[in-house]
């Protein structure tokens, strides 16, 4: 289908484009912008006046819960939520059930995602067999099956020897290793080790649970020259360590989850289980440092760390609840608030949601250059909405942002030139 997205403010951070113009799509790819290519006659037009047109969002960490936890959500349900949130690609970590440590699981997810349509689901393969941190996973086979990287999901490989070997083996096949740094011993708690945990008598997770692991990993990376991405950083000190490694020239990237830029340990007050997350919500200084790290590009991506839950998972005393926030629906609007608050320019912000994660994944996507896949998000930056449970398309309503007034509403999401979500028909 040939399509024209007309009159929108096109922001394409990869090409440093920020202009009101038209965008043309043919055969699922970007056919050009500004003037229509010769002989281009659109079959469909999208009126994007007063709206922003940007590459579809790429979410580096989202758990659709399938396979294994379909009582929480499914690829189909979360694909709907992703499309409604302007997300065109999401990356599923390997801690599914069964674990993504064999090609059959990759294939299963691909099939389900294809059947659901609406969003591209990419998978990370396991770094170690069953994520047990003991034996190497079949990384070459996982890569061949389509995994875009390897990692052990939310788990940290405790053995430095195994990790070193795993990093080397992954590098052999040019795989990026995705690590979520949390020392399994020190990270055995419920909340940031700070004032609130002390008052509430909650077992604390010190910052060192994150930074100790990062420091170890950086030493290995320096030795081995492998490519590593640290996911979901939560502390100021972690940002500092990664920044220093980047200055040194190590091949290290990092992201944070958007909720870490808005919530801190203080939000646990009242034992609010919706704020039970891992890594834990930390202090205000950490929150500020993460924002700065994002603005300065130390954190090259911003993700949802989407973890939908059934209501029962959060209906218990804090320590008996499952960690995680349902984040697909709010990723864009929460992120936009950073630009509204002047933390970073809009274009830079959108880069962290599109081009930044694409580069981390080594994909030629996340941009609107001619010939690129037409994964596009059109949104009204001024549309105000209130986060209510019934406004969330994800099956998980476990959001601490319920009741928040946000700006920015997606009107159209295109995946390879197909409209997979349309809010209204002003076409």
């Amino acid at each position: 289908m040939r399509m024209a997205i007309e009159g929108g403010r096109v922001i394409d951070p990869a090409h440093q484009t920020d202009a009101v113009t038209d965008l043309f799509i043919a055969d699922g790819r970007i056919a050009g912008s500004g003037q229509p290519p010769a002989g281009f006659v659109p079959e469909r037009r999208i009126d994007a006046r007063d709206r922003i047109v940007c590459p579809g969002l790429i979410d580096l960490c989202a758990r659709p819960r399938e396979p294994g936890q379909e009582h929480k959500a499914t690829i189909a349900s979360e694909a709907r939520a992703a499309a409604g949130g302007g997300i065109t690609t999401l990356v599923c970590p390997p801690d599914t059930d069964p674990v993504i440590d064999e090609p059959a699981v990759v294939e299963l997810i691909r099939r389900r995602a294809k059947a659901a349509g609406r969003v591209r689901v990419l998978t990370l393969g396991a770094l170690t067999h069953r994520l047990h941190g003991e034996r190497l996973a079949e990384m070459a086979a996982l890569k061949e099956a389509g995994c875009v990287g390897v990692g052990d999901g939310g788990r940290t490989v405790a053995s430095s020897r195994v990790l070193r070997r795993a990093l080397e083996y992954a590098a052999t096949f040019d795989l990026t290793v995705f690590l979520t740094p949390l020392d399994p011993e020190l990270g055995h708690g419920l909340a940031h080790e700070g004032r609130v945990a002390t008052r509430f008598g909650l077992p604390g997770i010190p910052v060192a649970a994150e930074t100790g692991v990062i420091a170890r990993d950086l030493e290995l990376i320096r030795d081995l020259g492998v490519r590593v991405h640290f996911g979901r950083l939560s502390s100021a000190r972690a940002v500092e360590l990664v920044a220093r490694a980047q200055e040194e020239g190590l091949s290290v990237t990092a992201d944070t989850a958007v909720h870490h830029l808005y919530l801190s340990e203080i939000d646990l007050s009242g034992f609010d289980s919706r704020c039970h997350v891992l890594p834990p919500l930390r202090g205000l200084r950490d929150l500020d440092a993460l924002r700065t790290g994002l603005a300065e590009g130390v954190l090259g991506a911003l993700c949802s760390d989407h973890q939908p839950h059934e209501p029962d998972a959060k209906q218990a005393p804090f320590g008996d609840t499952e960690p995680g926030i349902s984040g697909l629906d709010t990723l864009l609007a929460l992120s936009l608030r950073l630009a509204r608050d002047g933390i970073l320019p809009l274009s830079a912000l959108l880069a962290r949601l599109t081009w930044g994660p694409a580069r981390i994944l080594g994909l030629d996507s996340g941009h609107l250059g001619t010939g690129a896949l037409a994964d596009i998000c059109v949104f009204d930056p001024d549309a105000e909405w209130r986060v209510e449970a019934d406004a969330l398309r994800s099956r998980g309503h476990n959001s601490p942002f319920l009741g928040w007034e946000l700006h920015g509403q997606v009107t159209h999401t295109l995946l390879e030139g197909q409209v997979v979500y349309a809010r209204e028909a002003r076409e």
Partner: protein, 326 residues
Amino acid sequence: MSAANLQLDRQGRLLHFLTVEGLSRRHLTEILDTAESLRGVAERRVKKLPTLHGKTVVNLFFEASTRTRTTFELAAKRLSADVLNLNIATSATTKGESLLDTLRNIEAMQCDMFVVRHPQSGAAEFMARHVKPHIAVLNAGDGCHAHPTQGMLDAFTIRRHKPDFPSLQVAIVGDILHSRVARSLIHALNILGAGEVRVIAPRTLLPAWVESLGVRVFHSPQAGLREVDVIVMLRLQRERMERALLPTEQEFFQQYGLTEERLALAKPDAIVMHPGPINRGVEIDSRVADGPRSVILEQVTNGIAVRMAVMSITLGNHARPLEEDA
């Protein structure tokens, strides 16, 4: 909504007793004064008042406890309530029932008050958030968070011996990190205006940011016990050694145990307290535990009066709106 707000009605009256933190001196004084007036009940021939006649109190214990459960039971019975003891640790939840389901089932038995003990911090607050409005929830200890009636009975015992709080120096010794008793007592003492609250422990048994609770930190009893009016020893659990928080019980006793020599550092009329049950020779020497300065058994007696006070205040406040409507 914070716990402090959750446990108060719009007029600021106590509906549940979940934590001491966030309450006012007026609330605490009301509990202490009511306990004072109820203390004599135990000395009467008929140890009963009709205050909670026709009310049903359920002791919902998800964690084993004989002493606390017994004192709550006795307190409720002395107020003429019917009491039901449910030891949930060995029944419903082990069969996979959620806490909310357990709550709904017991609620359906037309109860008026839940006394809750649970291994998770925040459990009592969770229950208060979900119970029907006519039910009062009393926290009988949740995780490492709070044990407010214990904190108040300690404050009550202190007030009976040393009523001038601004001049008081109180030392709490031992496992502060895991102690809900310590947290509740610290809040109570600070709200009541105690001169200084000290905590004395090795760093492994102190939470990070402990100073933010409003205490002065000492690692040495020699310094921390000097000239104090009250010494509160905390129970040390054996598992602390297994979890690498301490090397041995012997070393703990040598460094922090309350001996007569160490007691001599305090003021001559200092009192010694302990929430019980005590580990003789681990946190306290028998000669001190049984000595003239020990008020440990008095604490147990006072515990009943304080729990009676909290029960009558909270259930009284629950009943009030109905009376006002009528």
